[in-house]
């Protein structure tokens, strides 16, 4: 029961986080590529409940930022007038889940723009970019992991079940792939492609590359499980009763690999998100102005940004709960897998 509870806890955490990213248009107050050229590198605004005169407000509010006198990049709060945060207000157009055209946003300000995580070099809202960037990075990770697992699973199953020369061939190829320095492989692949790739093309390209490169490890794991499963008594018995290869794989052997696959998925997804970030950070991923987590952090390559604008680090912090969620999920999968096996032994048949 304890295992099941932590499992559910991680699932809820991830569900909420992914929900926010999926509905980025709603939760983000602004269009992620809209440039507010009057306010580049604006620090994050603080949400207040107490105003400068000590009055308590029911509705949280912000003070707009203005340049401090005799400086050109130091900001201070202009406390003359509080600007309350409005909820469920109309703003920039977006499409919820990619098809539902809406203008409703969760929060925003009237007559002022609220930058919860500050703005970047072009005055774009970092908070909106973080949410929309998650769409690219997380889904590149999910899709890439899906492709990897599918390839790894098929190859592992074939190698483990049929054995013989097929096994040897596939496993040697897998070992070859394991030794490849994948980052350089990605560089090389990217260099072969046409110069200007649209953001969508770039996205699928990254996913495909990520998916195609990492299959070797899951394939080896699946092969191991299949190898041991096919020698089980009930599998031998089924074969003795004349079960076909397809039936055996489907009914008895592949279900055994599910816990390995799920654990692998929970480990691979954050790994691939990180890979996408690495590529975008190095300018090989989704092109500007489309946000992705790597793009968000790529500004930090410049020394001046590194030392002057601390809020440019915030996207990196915001990614931590995602990774924590996936790794938590992976460890509870492992535990659950162990429990589940025994339970299914008892009640399953």
């Amino acid at each position: 029961m304890r295992v099941r509870r932590t499992f559910a806890k991680w699932l809820v955490v991830l569900g909420v986080l992914h929900g926010m990213v999926v509905c980025a248009g709603f939760f983000a107050p602004y269009d992620p590529v809209e440039q507010d050229r009057q306010s580049p590198y604006l620090p994050p605004m603080r949400l207040h409940l107490l105003d400068a005169h000590g009055h308590l407000h029911v509705r949280p509010f912000v003070y707009p930022l203005r340049l401090r006198e005799s400086s050109f990049d130091q900001f201070e709060e202009d406390t003359t007038e509080p600007h309350p945060v409005k909820f469920f207000l109309r703003g920039a157009r977006y499409r919820l889940l990619g098809f539902l055209p809406l203008r409703m946003h969760f929060f925003g300000g009237e007559n002022t723009r609220i930058y919860l995580l500050g703005t970047d070099a072009y005055g774009r809202d970092q908070f909106s970019r973080l949410l929309f960037g998650g769409q690219v990075s997380l889904f590149a990770g999910l899709l890439g992991a899906g492709v990897t697992l599918f390839i790894g699973w098929s190859i592992g199953a074939v190698a483990g079940y049929y054995g013989g020369w097929r096994d040897s061939l596939l496993m040697r190829v897998a070992e070859l792939f394991l030794t490849l320095p994948w980052l350089y492989l990605l560089f090389a692949l990217r260099a072969f492609l046409p110069l200007a790739v649209s953001p969508l093309e770039a996205f699928f390209l990254i996913t495909a590359v990520l998916g195609a490169v990492g299959w070797a490890r899951p394939a080896r794991l699946v092969r191991g499980v299949v190898l041991s499963a096919k020698e089980r008594d009930f599998v031998r018995a089924a074969r003795g009763f004349g079960a076909s290869n397809g039936y055996l794989l489907r009914r008895h052997i592949l279900p055994e690999t599910s816990s390995v696959l799920l654990t692998q998925a929970a480990i691979l997804i954050p790994q691939y998100v990180l890979a996408e970030m690495t590529l975008s950070f190095l300018g090989l991923g989704v092109p500007e102005p489309v946000p992705s987590w790597g793009n968000l952090l790529s500004g930090l390559q410049q020394y001046s940004v590194l030392v002057s604008y601390w809020w440019m680090y915030l996207p990196a912090l915001a990614m931590v709960p995602f990774f924590l969620g996936y790794l938590g999920l992976a460890s509870s999968f492992e535990e659950r897998g162990a429990v589940y096996k025994i339970e299914s032994r008892i009640w399953g048949m």
Partner: protein, 587 residues
């Protein structure tokens, strides 16, 4: 009696000993520089953006090599980087014949190369023979072709040389700036063997290399630094007669990128920094511990956007040919120019330390800009009207945004190349991308490593549009000749044409060539102004912005006066000195 003889002898010998060096100095005609008198000694460390390729002026093409050669070599006539006027250098004086075709140059007496060998007219003859030799492929050769014919050089006596031009040349003696006079005694043998291109590597032994500049080779550590030492035979002195340069050593550290240069300067490892980006400048300005940052004002760099207008059909793909239909439309280029928010570029890219540009002449060049050139403010309405006139239309896209369509109903999409190592230009591209989105153009920005970028633009010509920057090396109109002339290599939108492709390019060619041989500044300026107007009307280059020259130095450096011309801080390296009692003198 004996003692008297001895005494006389002593006096005589003593007199000789004193008189001899005096006589020597009397023979040497040192150039006396005005300005603050400094203190001799010490070492100055500056960073260089990577390792120079060569010390040989005959093959140096990269900026780093030229910077190092600049302090090791000297020219006959030099352009003062502060006043932007010509000054005598190795030439004590020069005279131009009434027809403007021959220049008589009188060399300074007592000149010596940094290895102590004397210089005479034969070295000058040898130098120009080498520069003009087609087999040497010196980059200087193009400069010395006036009116399509090479300059001829004739020796009159040991100290007088006459240069004969085929056609009058407006800038005259400016031609000689930067043309290093080479040591015949070291190079002649290699020249006759045809091996001049192979010498002058950084690993050359110090006694095998010589020049006439303030510093000479001392030590080279691969991948780390190049150490130069004071040239004891240098031909300049300060106002009090002390021989320049003041510094004993000049060290170039090889630091590959701008941020690392900033860190090295901040930590005190280097004494001066130049070519600082605006953002790094404000970081450095925030806490000036023992150093001072200086904004020297607008420089001569101009950044611009241009479209691929190349005619060579066989080289361009059908996709680019389709897009070129738009690019060739003057209205299209005018519309793009009208839509670009130059003020935003200055503010966001240069943090206000720069100037918006509407023409090729950057604001740092005060004499040559055309004041009548229009400076239209950003106007999307005007851009839309221009596009409508040229047959473009808009469709309402599914997202409420509209897409620009050409007369065939195809959507207008293209990519802009920028150098991946230049953060400033990448930022400009991102701003322009957003500006043009408001006209319904879908633009992609493609960062490319600068060598392959240049290759694409000048060789394969496989690109749509590109953002580049050029820094004029001199505040004279002629320094940008290869940009203006349709046959020029930097006529980037369609380089090295055999014949001008359009009538306006032909007109510009005519104006610029006429300008080159015009005799007075007024005549030249009038022709140059007209060329600028034609360029603005046709917008083959959409000018964006020009950054200020930003530099800094430790407070212990005396005579630090950054100029807006290259080399920004080392132009007066012979006068730089370390002030008394400063701790870094020993480092």
């Amino acid at each position: 009696m004996r003692s008297i003889v001895l005494l006389l002898l002593f006096v005589f010998v003593g007199h000789q000993a004193i008189a001899f060096p005096q006589e020597k100095i009397g023979k040497e005609e040192l150039l006396v520089l005005p300005g603050e008198v400094g203190r001799a000694g010490g070492r100055l460390v500056v960073s260089l953006r990577g390792e120079p390729k060569t010390l040989n002026p005959l093959i140096a093409a990269d900026a780093r090599s030229r910077e190092v050669i600049g302090v090791m070599q000297a020219d006959l006539v030099h352009i003062n980087r502060a006043t932007q006027q010509t000054e005598p250098a190795l030439a004590k004086s020069w005279k131009i014949s009434p027809d403007g075709l021959s220049y008589t140059i009188v060399l300074r007496r007592g000149l010596k190369f940094s290895d102590g060998q004397p210089l005479d007219a034969d070295d000058v003859l040898f130098t120009f023979r080498v520069y003009l030799d087609e087999n040497v492929h010196a980059p200087q050769r193009d400069l010395l072709m006036v009116g399509g014919k090479p300059i001829t050089v004739r020796k009159v006596d040991e100290h007088t040389v006459v240069f004969q031009l085929a056609k009058t040349y407006g800038v005259g003696e400016r031609l000689f700036d930067g043309l290093a006079i080479l040591p015949r005694h070291l190079l002649e043998k290699r020249y006759e063997e045809g091996k001049l291109g192979q010498i002058g590597s950084l690993a050359t032994a110090a006694d095998q290399w010589a020049g006439l500049g303030p510093f000479r080779l001392k030590e080279y550590v691969a991948g780390q630094r190049l150490v130069l030492e004071r040239n004891p035979y240098y031909w300049k002195s300060d106002a009090q007669g002390g021989r320049l340069p003041y510094l004993d050593e000049l060290v170039f550290l090889f630091v590959p990128n701008a941020d690392a240069q900033v860190l090295k300067f901040q930590s005190g490892e280097t004494d001066m920094i130049s070519q600082v980006g605006a953002e790094n400048f404000s970081v450095l300005s925030k806490q000036q511990h023992g150093y001072t940052m200086v904004d020297a004002g607008p420089g001569l760099e101009y950044n611009f956007l241009f479209f691929n207008l190349n005619d060579s059909i066989e080289k361009t793909s059908p996709d680019i040919q389709r897009k070129q239909k738009w690019f060739r439309e003057v209205n299209f280029r005018q519309a793009v120019s009208a839509a670009v928010d130059r003020e935003a570029i200055v503010r966001l890219v240069y943090q206000g330390r720069g100037a918006a540009l509407w023409g090729l002449v950057a604001p740092g060049n005060r004499r040559w800009g055309n004041e009548k050139l229009p400076h239209p403010a950003r106007s999307l309405d005007r851009a839309r009207t221009l596009l409508k006139e040229a047959g473009f239309s808009w469709s309402n896209g599914p997202d409420g945004g509209s897409t620009l369509l050409d007369s065939d109903g195809k959507s207008v999409e293209f990519s802009i190349l920028t150098s991946s190592t230049n953060a400033d230009r990448a930022k400009m591209a991102a701003l322009i991308q957003d500006d043009l989105k408001q006209l319904g153009m879908r633009v992609q920005v493609v960062p490319l490593e600068s060598r392959s970028l240049l290759d694409r633009v000048t060789q394969s010509r496989d690109y749509d549009a590109c953002i580049m920057g050029i820094a004029s090396y001199d505040a004279d109109a002629n320094s940008d000749i290869s940009v203006w002339l349709s046959s020029g290599g930097l006529h980037l939108w369609s380089p090295s044409q055999a014949h001008p492709a359009t009538s306006w390019e032909a007109e510009i060619d005519r104006l610029i060539e006429e300008q080159m041989s015009a005799r007075t500044f007024e005549q030249r300026k009038k022709l140059y102004d007209r060329a600028q107007e034609i360029l603005a009307e046709n917008q083959p280059m959409i000018f964006l912005a020009s950054p200020n020259i930003l530099a800094g130095a430790k407070n212990s450096i005396g005579n630090f006066h950054p100029a807006v011309l290259e080399p920004y801080v080392l132009w007066n390296v012979e006068q730089l000195y370390l002030k008394n009692g400063m701790e870094n003198a020993t480092r």
